[in-house]
């Protein structure tokens, strides 16, 4: 069993839809949770970075963490064609600057259509 599971998609939605992207994990020691967006032929770009359980909002993006269920989500409101990309979840056990190893999901490919 992988430490982090993520549905690879592809996920196709019409413009303006609400998108829900999810990851589950098995390691209860994960404390920090991140979502990255990766466009084709580009590196991962940090979207959201959270520590505790609960919600964090940034514009059209909301990250949700449920440590009791070992489940994280990224919601995208009013999705745009420019949101078409691969979304990667990542998590780490500690983040002290000396040991920030990230464990990634395989990524979900999202296509927002006109």
């Amino acid at each position: 069993q992988k430490e982090v599971e993520q549905d690879p998609g592809p996920l196709s939605v019409p413009e303006g839809a609400i998108v829900s992207l999810n990851c589950t994990y098995s390691n209860s020691a994960f404390q920090y949770f991140m979502w990255y967006r990766q466009y084709s032929r580009k590196g991962p770009e940090l979207l959201m970075y959270t520590y505790s359980s609960g919600n964090k909002e940034d514009g059209r993006f909301t990250a949700q963490v449920d440590k009791s269920s070992k489940y994280i989500s990224l919601f995208i409101r009013d999705s745009q064609p420019s949101d078409s990309a691969t979304y990667l979840c990542a998590m780490s056990t500690i983040n002290t600057g000396t040991a920030s190893k990230l464990t990634f999901g395989t990524g979900t490919r999202l296509q927002v259509t006109l």
């Binding site: 991140m34 580009k42 983040n95 600057g97 920030s100 990230l102 395989t106």
Partner: protein
């Protein structure tokens, strides 16, 4: 945050040869990392590049195959040695600016071995 650049962006190499990938950050950062991203798979950490000392390698990666240098706080190189077609992948570097900060990634090097 700091800006990271990586080169070359892509290369096609002959089997048995070696290639050195460079990663430059425009300000001093505490930690730098090297990842491999294979098609349909998660990003996998190769090693943590330590300034002034030997890199710390993850299980399955060895210094003879992936020698890493980090001569200062802004620069690191990864060499892929004695390449075979199985080394065809995207290689990414990342950095952390300080404690409890997330990782930021370069755009990667797309490597194909014939």
């Amino acid at each position: 945050s700091a800006v990271i650049s990586q080169k070359p962006s892509r290369d096609i190499c002959q089997r048995g040869t070696s290639l050195t990938i460079q990663c430059q950050v425009d300000s001093q950062v505490t930690m730098m990392f090297w990842y491999r991203q294979q098609p349909g798979q998660s990003l996998t950490l190769i090693a943590t590049a330590n300034q002034g000392s030997e890199a710390t390698y993850e299980s399955g990666f060895v210094i003879d195959k992936f020698p890493i240098s980090r001569p200062n706080l802004t620069f690191s190189t990864l060499t892929v040695s004695n390449m075979s077609p199985e080394d065809s992948s995207i290689y990414l570097c990342s950095f952390v600016e300080g404690s409890n900060q997330p990782q930021h990634f370069g755009d990667g090097t797309r490597l194909s071995i014939l």
